[in-house]
């Protein structure tokens, strides 16, 4: 009896919410992303503004880290020179899975103003590491960066931890055809 009452009244003291473990984990992950700072050029200046009290990036649960081993994602903000590209790659490889990349500004996206005559500039950081979110702008305003951050959170929330999403969708379709109810990501429940 007591347990059912708690289910009916989930938000009062001692209430119980039923959820999918994957969603709970992803919710947690998406709200506490620690990032590796990688300020390279003028975009990094905008990024400092983003971190300061006026825009307050920390309200996203993002804490700056200076070690790749403690970071969930890396923000490449600025011009990636060929000399730096090797270092970025090495840092990215040192980060623990799961890891994400935000490319901030035109330079990191595609070479920016150096796309033609920049003999020393890598034309886009996606030539060395896989980028999850591109934030356009030269430099992007903090609001634009927040949009990018929210896109990354969306992506993290969608991620399959236990099974791949496509596989789940396939199985769901199959189960629906057979009339079975399945809680995704958890144990199969037989209807009978």
């Amino acid at each position: 009896m007591g347990l059912l009452n708690k289910l009916d009244n989930p938000y009062n003291a001692g209430g119980i919410v039923l959820g999918v473990a994957e969603d709970v984990l992803n919710w947690g992950r998406s709200k506490s992303d620690w990032y590796l700072q990688f300020g390279l050029a003028c975009c990094a200046i905008e990024f400092m503004a983003l971190n300061a009290s006026h825009y307050d990036f920390m309200r996203f649960g993002c804490i700056p880290r200076t070690s790749p081993r403690q970071a969930d994602f890396i923000i490449v903000s600025g011009t990636v020179t060929l000399k730096m590209a090797e270092r970025i790659k090495r840092l990215y490889e040192q980060m623990a899975e799961p890891k994400y990349v935000i490319s901030m500004g035109s330079c990191a996206n595609c070479g920016g103003p150096y796309w033609e005559h920049g003999y020393h500039v890598l034309k886009g950081v996606d030539r060395v590491i896989p980028v999850d979110v591109y934030v356009p702008g030269c430099p992007p305003r903090p609001e634009a960066f927040f949009e990018g951050m929210m896109k990354l959170q969306e992506k993290i929330k969608m991620q399959a931890i236990f099974r791949k999403r496509e596989k789940i969708a396939e199985e769901d379709a199959k189960n629906a055809a057979e009339g079975k109810i399945v809680v995704p990501g958890l144990v199969e429940v037989d209807n009978h």
Partner: protein, 158 residues
Amino acid sequence: MQANEIYEKLKAEYGDAIMELVSDEATEAWIRISPDKILEVCLGLRDDKGFKFDYLANLSGMDYKDSIGVVYHLYSVELKHRITLKAILDRENPTIHTVERVWKTANWHEREAFDMFGIIFENHPNLIRILSPYDWEGYPLRKDYVTPQEYNGFKVPY
């Protein structure tokens, strides 16, 4: 001191090493000096009681298409006068003595000029590239520089 006074005084002291004074350009007046006397002239400019050029504000390389140049911008904090020196070098073999022992500032400036223009500063304590990677090929600010297609496996053009 005005530029022409500086020129006269230098000319009296070093003779042919001081080649010409150009003061009719929109920029600051400059003195062309012979590259093989650069160390003596710079030591004189720094230590002479009348000059006291204690500050090397800038040292940069230049590409004049048929030759390579080194430009020195000097300032005296005490006497508040300034002068620009230019040394014109052979394009095939741009070599000049370092002024690192005259003004320590010259150390990194000369490394930059070496990095970007390939000017060899003789007797420099550590003449290696400063901006480009150590294994970079060519001198990027030369007018005939061609952007490489590839560097260490990275594609360079867009």
